[in-house]
């Protein structure tokens, strides 16, 4: 394209001897070419770093530094107003762990997560199985199941807070209509967890179904043809071929929903229609992230807020690992039973 073609070629294959410029028109060009060549070699060697460094520099500032510095703040007496105080070691962690709301919030968080993740994966698998057909207007159906995903968690919390209203909610009216008693969705601990888990399921099932669908479409179709000849039913095909084949994606979905699900904040906060908005009068549905907010911006204690954040991080790692091991085990079992048949 331009005159520096030859030096560039030399740089692309460093073993080759530096080629002569193809045509030397003026005497000045000869002097410029080693310089150009060096420039081009630098270009090849260093421009990757030029491309990645803006990201890494910014990421260090807004991503990594805060994460690490949370650990520093957590060992100081650090007030929202007064700033950094004395070094207190692990005192903040002790305070948080001894706080009665800590255990309660941790249990709530895990309980809401368990209630949402299990059904969600199963329904998403079934939904993906339905979408994995030669549907007319496939894109429209896929968009349809993704609809709840565009509703913000805050809006989800408000809408479901009203649907699950203790007195005038639609759900309770429907229950009464079929002759069942009303449920105290906001005051009963387990019921509130169920209501919040329903919000999570509503928003995320379609999204996860699309991820699983993508993996299902990569399963070789001749596997199905072979089993169809063997007389396997559609359901059997699904459980024996489809699900085992997409195991890595299932694990991926489980892990990402663990990381996201354990940080739940907006839904339970908006579900609480009292003015305090901290998870019900008895904190029956307060979560870990709500506790971080509560320590930091209600009680104005950034030290304890940081300690809580680190404890939440630990909880996420433990549960994510547990899920990883469990889903691998589960998958391995499925494989074994499949082989035996």
């Amino acid at each position: 394209m331009t005159g520096d073609a030859a030096p560039d070629e030399g740089a692309a294959s460093p073993v080759a001897t530096p080629p002569e410029p193809p045509v030397v028109r003026r005497s000045g060009a000869r002097a410029a070419s080693p310089w150009r060549e060096r420039l081009s070699r630098w270009d090849v060697r260093y421009s990757p770093y030029v491309y990645i460094s803006p990201f890494f520099l910014l990421f260090l500032v807004v991503g990594m530094f805060p994460l690490v510095y949370t650990a520093v703040v957590s060992v100081y007496d650090w007030s929202l107003i007064g700033g950094k105080g004395e070094f207190v070691g692990l005192q903040n962690y002790r305070d948080v762990l001894e706080n009665p709301y800590f255990v309660k919030s941790a249990v709530n968080t895990v309980s809401i997560f368990v209630l949402s993740s299990g059904p969600q994966i199963l329904i998403a698998l079934a939904l993906a199985g339905l979408l994995d057909n030669a549907l007319r207007g496939a894109t429209l159906w896929r968009m349809g199941v993704l609809l709840p995903f565009v509703v913000a968690p805050v809006a989800v919390g408000i809408i479901f807070g009203s649907l699950f209203g203790d007195r005038y909610g639609l759900i309770n009216e429907a229950l009464n209509w079929v002759g069942l008693p009303s449920v105290s969705w906001h005051t009963d601990r387990l019921a509130s967890h169920l209501a919040i888990a329903t919000m999570v399921n509503w928003r995320w099932t379609g999204y996860n179904a699309l991820i699983l669908l993508a993996a299902m479409q990569a399963v070789p179709r001749d596997l199905y043809d072979a089993s169809a000849i063997d007389g396997a039913s559609r359901f059997k095909q699904f459980t024996r071929i489809t699900v085992p084949s997409i195991r890595p994606t299932v694990i991926f979905v489980v892990i990402t929903s663990t990381i996201g699900g354990l940080q739940i904040f907006a839904e339970p906060r908006m579900f609480d229609s009292t003015l305090a908005q901290n998870g019900g009068s008895d904190r029956q549905f307060s979560t870990m992230t709500m506790l971080v907010y509560d320590f930091g911006w209600h009680l104005r204690d950034l030290g304890r807020a940081s300690a809580t954040a680190w404890l939440l991080f630990l909880l996420i790692i433990v549960i994510a690992l547990l899920n990883y091991v469990l889903s691998r085990r589960f998958g391995a079992l499925a494989h074994l039973t499949r082989r035996r048949r």
Binding site: E9, P66, M143, V150, A155, W202, L210
Partner: protein, 276 residues
Amino acid sequence: MTARSVGRPGFLVYGLLTAFIVGSALPLYWSFLIGSHTKEVITRDTPPMLPGGHFLANAQRVFDSVPFWKALGNSLMVSSVAATSVVFFGTLAGYAFAKLRFRGSTPLLVFVVVTMAVPTQLGVVPLFIVMAKLGWTGSVWAAIVPTIVTAFGVFFMRQYLIDAVPDELIEAARVDGCSQFRTFVTVALPAARPAMAILWLFTFMMTWTDFFWPLIVLPAENPTVQIALNQLQSGYFKDYALVLAGTTLATIPLLVLFVATGRQFVAGIMQGAVKG
């Protein structure tokens, strides 16, 4: 393409899918339904089936109760700056990881993938301390700063570019004498455009719906849409006609975006998944 030898799906498949989608749309309908009636409607024994004629009146009350226009403007600002910035830095770094060979590329990429799993939300305390030191708390810039780069953006663009740009094409551009940067602009960027659009939409939506961080740094007078909704809910907690009218209003912009670009959303989620 996706046809199975079993043949076309029957009524059962379409019926189940329709039921699921109706269930998905129901809560949104409920929001509009209650938002279009007077506030007493919720106390009736049987809820109404059809929308009433009070939506605009309720919407007016939303605008009177919270700075909703300002919230919309702020959300638009925060989300589009975040989306543009994530796409810009993600494409640059993603291209380097996908197509250029350099020392340390593998460990650096592993680092990016690992940090995707780390909830950045946990860094809110130091971020807040820094913002307070800089005196930025209360301004939309404080809401924007932590969103300007994501590890996901880099990873997403890398995964796309690996297949979208053949190595031979880059080689050819180099032989033709293109500098690295010129190769990036003339060869990689055109190929990356669909993925850039998807990443932009995705980041826009994620930032628009974000709540925790804006709640910490933004005051009631200068909210994003989510913060305005939060105010509506905590201030008038019994008036569901008002709150749900506000919720409907707040959902409309994303709904419009979704209807216009749903195909890209679907493609983006499914693309990220196969390789993720």
